[in-house]
């Protein structure tokens, strides 16, 4: 099967590339664009480590084929830094201890960003609903709840 030519924007920069049609968006981003911040934990959309934001929606990039990103606007964890400064969500995860091993962290941070983009002041229930697709095995989530509250400017 021949490669497919696709155009998309990722983290604010435009790309036009040839991609294997059976590749996932995750593979394309990691292997072809060398953005390795996004992780693969399961390959079946169950753990959320590969979460990216595509056209404003949180997706599991291991379950999306690369050609499906044609014409899309993609944001990965690498796209959150602004002029080298940490995004408030990133800062909050560090400060509250919401990061341990760090493998779920990029996906968890993207899920948090997606949550706060639609619900700027989430309740605890909103957080527990909004992050339900992202597994963390290290923290027990308590400090992640604190990170999201902190990032949204709310008292823990």
């Amino acid at each position: 099967m021949g490669k497919v030519n696709i155009s998309f924007t990722i983290n604010g920069s435009s790309h036009q590339i040839d991609v294997e049609p059976q590749w996932t968006l995750l593979e394309m981003v990691r292997e072809q664009l060398h953005l390795t911040g996004t992780k693969e934990g399961c390959g079946t959309g169950d753990c959320g480590a590969c979460s990216m934001i595509v056209d404003g929606r949180l997706i599991t990039s291991c379950c999306m084929l690369a050609p499906q990103a044609d014409g899309s606007d993609v944001t990965t964890v690498e796209g959150l830094l602004a002029n080298g400064d940490l995004h408030p969500v990133q800062q909050a995860f560090i400060e509250t201890g919401g990061v341990q091993c760090g493998f779920c962290t990029p996906g968890m941070i993207m899920a948090t960003k997606a949550l706060l983009d639609r619900t700027p002041k989430p309740t605890l229930d909103d957080i527990r609903e909004g992050l339900a697709g992202n597994l963390c095995r290290c923290t027990g989530y308590t400090k992640i709840y604190e990170a999201v509250m902190t990032a949204s400017g709310q008292e823990i």
Binding site: G41, F93, I94, C101, L135, R137, T139, G140, I156
Partner: protein
């Protein structure tokens, strides 16, 4: 938010400047930006990807492996099976020493052959072209019937298996007990006795006898196993791998591959979760493949492979009988523990036997443990390996007996709880421990205090349980160096799986009285780092942290000596503060660390470099205990359990970094909740895993876990740095029993198996 974190009071006005303060992770920025490199993020020129063919059968004879078609597949660089490897020093009785199955496969997923290609998709496709002829054999899946005389055997050479693994398990030789030496699936036995257990039961006012089961569970780190290996023409092997145990990986590779340890460089990459499961697994196969092709080889396990063929934690059956007097005194305990080891020995039945009778003073006990082989994936360590299975049983019994005798469950525990000097079932006395302090603290938790309010409410309950862990011991060393600009570099050989490098930063900053920002910490590879044991057994801060403290003190001594010569003073008259050495009582006599750095590194410098060295070894452990409480609500129609509140108390000895300690406590508690509520590897009668993915193997999600109330208590250890004791493991231990006790409180009947799934709740209620 309901969550409340109570750190010990002295945090604010501690005598220390760096240790004891909540400190953000030294590697935090790398992790939140995605810049931290995990093994799968690394790539090398001419690197090949390995894909591994696993057996579809749990037990079969391998009659032939034909790789000819796979070799012809376009893009395939090599196809390697057992016959293609040199005659390594394999030990077929030990999983660690087996690369590919030869003649017989013993569990589903056991590696048969590997394909190497530049494109991982090509390698994957070629796996389907490998032709393996199997003759299926009887799969032994139930450890209980596998113990019986005349059971089909898990493998042919079973008696060899026993003997070779015995020493690693502190167990009684099977052949010694069974003089005939008939082949059996029992890999090892263990036996602890004290007093007269039958006489004990005779004095008891309440005797409870019950059989408890806990499922096989998987560590389920989010990063699957990942290794890259390269072998060059000078005979040097380099391995980058997600391991908790770089020096152990080196030693194991040396033993099997016959390469000197000095020719092996193991770099522990950032570990994306280990929990005991990332010790040594994919390193040997990847190294063996790299040696064949003399090119870098990357092997990343798929989630399915990781579920099928890593080293999960065992199923266990605990048959327990306990007796208590009316005043709450525990007088007798009899236990028989059966741990399902899977296809190779290595099940942690010994710690199970220690802890089933090790939490409470009990004058009469008899404990028997059996490690039984089955045709399932062989088990390994999971955070306090073997402890949760046994704790589920004894902590359920404590609750049942207290309830029957009309005693408060916490008071019944307090009455019997072990203290310094009390013996474990093996006879060793406990050093100083904080079990009673944990019990006192949990009684003050918000969750436990809600007990009165919940009492009488239908389908709501509150439960409590304790758990502990002794911890591992291994020698450790560290280097603390002064750089030319006055900054400090700490080098260790321990993989940082839990925030330990941040604690080392705090320790070095404390000793040298400098800001945290002046200290950096590096985990070196096995050729450059000073030796450290594996980051397992909760020992890293306790042992390597001690070495860092000694190394920093050594560096400080060297700096003071230099300054003393410079000021023509005695080192006793000098002190360090704010990155400077001061001569006490003379404000003009100040030497900055930066100046000292220059004086010890510049061209023609008069003084030798400052290189502090710390080495340590101890035989004294610092056991940790945890007490936990849960409030649950049961849906009587569906059997669903909602955890409304959860509290954990743990004795940290001294929390060098309370932020990390809380994180460890909460994380361990959540894994205990997974064990309690949803995690179970399910096998069919042929020994095939039915849920080899993270959809059907249910880890706790945010929907399942409320914020966890977290209370640190501190009973200083005798030898740990600043009194720190083991941290990582105790938190996982009580979860199963805590939930079981809360569920029993809610519905008035006992569910004896964990996880307590909705189905098991409905069965206990007689609705299924």
């Amino acid at each position: 938010m309901a969550q409340e974190t109570k750190t010990r009071d002295k945090a604010g006005d501690s005598e220390y400047t760096a240790v004891g303060k909540p400190t953000i992770r030294i590697e935090g920025v790398g992790k939140v930006t995605g810049q931290t490199k995990f093994a799968d993020d690394l790539t090398f020129p001419h690197m090949l990807h390995a894909k591994v063919l696993g057996s579809p059968h749990a037990h079969a004879r391998v009659k032939s492996v034909d790789t000819a078609d796979a070799r012809q597949h376009p893009g395939v660089e090599a196809v390697i099976a057992a016959a293609d490897l040199p005659a390594y020093k394999m030990n077929p009785s030990n999983r660690r020493g087996v690369i590919f199955a030869v003649d017989e496969v013993l569990f589903q997923g056991q590696p048969i052959a590997a394909v190497l290609a530049s494109d991982p998709h090509v390698a994957e496709e070629a796996l389907a072209l490998i032709k393996v002829e199997y003759e299926p054999l009887t799969a032994v899946t139930d450890p209980i019937s596998a113990m019986e005389d005349g059971s089909p055997l898990v493998r042919s050479a079973i008696s060899d298996v026993d003997r070779s693994e015995e020493k690693g398990h502190v167990t009684i030789d099977v052949e010694q007990e069974e003089a005939e030496g008939a082949p059996s699936n029992i890999a090892s036995k263990i036996n602890f006795s004290r007093g007269d257990v039958e006489a004990g039961f005779a004095e008891a006012d309440c005797v409870v006898e019950q059989t408890w089961r806990s499922a096989m569970v998987h560590q389920s780190y989010i990063e699957p196993h990942a290794t890259i290996a390269d072998f060059d023409n000078s005979g040097e092997l380099s391995v980058w791998t997600s391991t908790q145990a770089p020096f152990y990986v080196r030693d194991e590779l040396c033993q099997t591959l016959g390469i000197h340890e000095s020719k092996i460089r193991v770099t522990a990459t950032e570990v994306g979760g280990g929990f005991g499961g990332k010790i040594f697994l994919t390193e040997l196969i990847t190294a063996a493949l790299a040696i064949v092709v003399k090119r870098p080889v990357k092997y990343i396990m798929s989630r399915k492979e990781d579920m099928l063929a890593a080293t999960p934690a065992p199923f266990a059956q605990v048959e327990l009988k306990t007796g208590m007097k009316a005043d709450g005194t525990l007088v007798a305990l009899k236990a028989r523990l059966i741990y399902d080891s899977g296809a190779f020995p290595g099940a942690p039945v010994m710690p199970g036997c220690l802890f089933v009778g090790g939490y409470y003073k009990c004058p009469n006990l008899h404990i028997e443990g059996f490690e039984v082989l089955t045709n399932k994936v062989s088990v390994g360590a999971l955070r306090a390996p073997g402890a949760h299975n046994a704790t589920h049983a004894i902590e359920s019994h404590m609750d049942i007996m207290a309830r029957e005798l009309g005693l408060d469950p916490l008071e019944a525990r307090m009455k019997n709880a072990v203290e310094e000097g009390d013996p474990l079932p093996s006879g060793q006395p406990y050093p100083r421990i904080g079990l009673k302090d944990c019990l006192r603290a949990i009684s003050e938790s918000d969750v436990w205090k809600r007990r009165r309010e919940v009492e009488g409410q239908a389908n709501r309950g509150v439960g409590v349980a304790i758990g502990g862990w002794i911890g591992g011991l291994q020698p450790a060393s560290a280097i603390v160096g002064l750089n030319g600009d006055g900054t400090i570099d700490v080098t260790v050989g321990s993989a940082d799986i839990s925030g330990t490098n941040t604690s080392f930063q705090q320790i070095a900053a404390e000793v040298l009285n400098v800001p945290l920002s002046s200290v950096n910490v590096t985990t070196g590879d096995t050729k450059t780092a000073p030796y450290a044991g594996m980051s397992a057994g909760s020992k890293t801060t306790y042992t390597v942290g001690k070495a860092v403290k000694l190394a920093a003190e050594d560096a400080k001594r060297q700096m003071l000596d230099i300054a003393a010569q410079r000021f023509e003073a005695s080192p006793d008259e000098l002190s360090v503060a704010d990155g400077k050495v001061h001569l006490d009582g003379d404000d003009d006599k100040v030497l900055t660390f930066a100046r000292l750095g220059k004086m010890t590194t510049n061209f023609g410098a008069r003084f030798a470099p400052v290189v502090g060295r710390g080495t340590m070894s101890t035989r004294k452990s610092a056991p940790g205990f945890s007490a936990q409480a849960a409030e649950v609500e049961i849906d009587p129609d569906t059997g669903a359990i909602t955890v409304l509140g959860y509290a954990i108390v743990q004795d940290a000895g001294f929390a060098i970094n309370p932020l990390s300690v809380e994180g460890q406590m909460q994380g361990g508690a959540s894994q205990g909740l997974g064990i309690a509520l949803s995690e179970e590897m399910k096998f069919d009668e042929e020994g095939r895993l039915l849920n080899a993915n993270l959809l059907d193997y249910r880890l706790p999600t945010t929907r399942d876990l409320p914020p966890i109330e977290t209370i640190i208590v501190e009973v200083p250890s005798e030898e740990g740095p600043y009194g720190a004791r083991i941290i990582g493991e105790p938190s996982i231990v009580p979860g199963g029993a805590t939930i079981a006790n809360a569920v029993a409180d809610a519905i008035g009947v006992r569910v004896t198996d964990i996880p307590i799934t909705p189905e098991r709740v409905l069965r206990a209620l007689g609705k299924l």
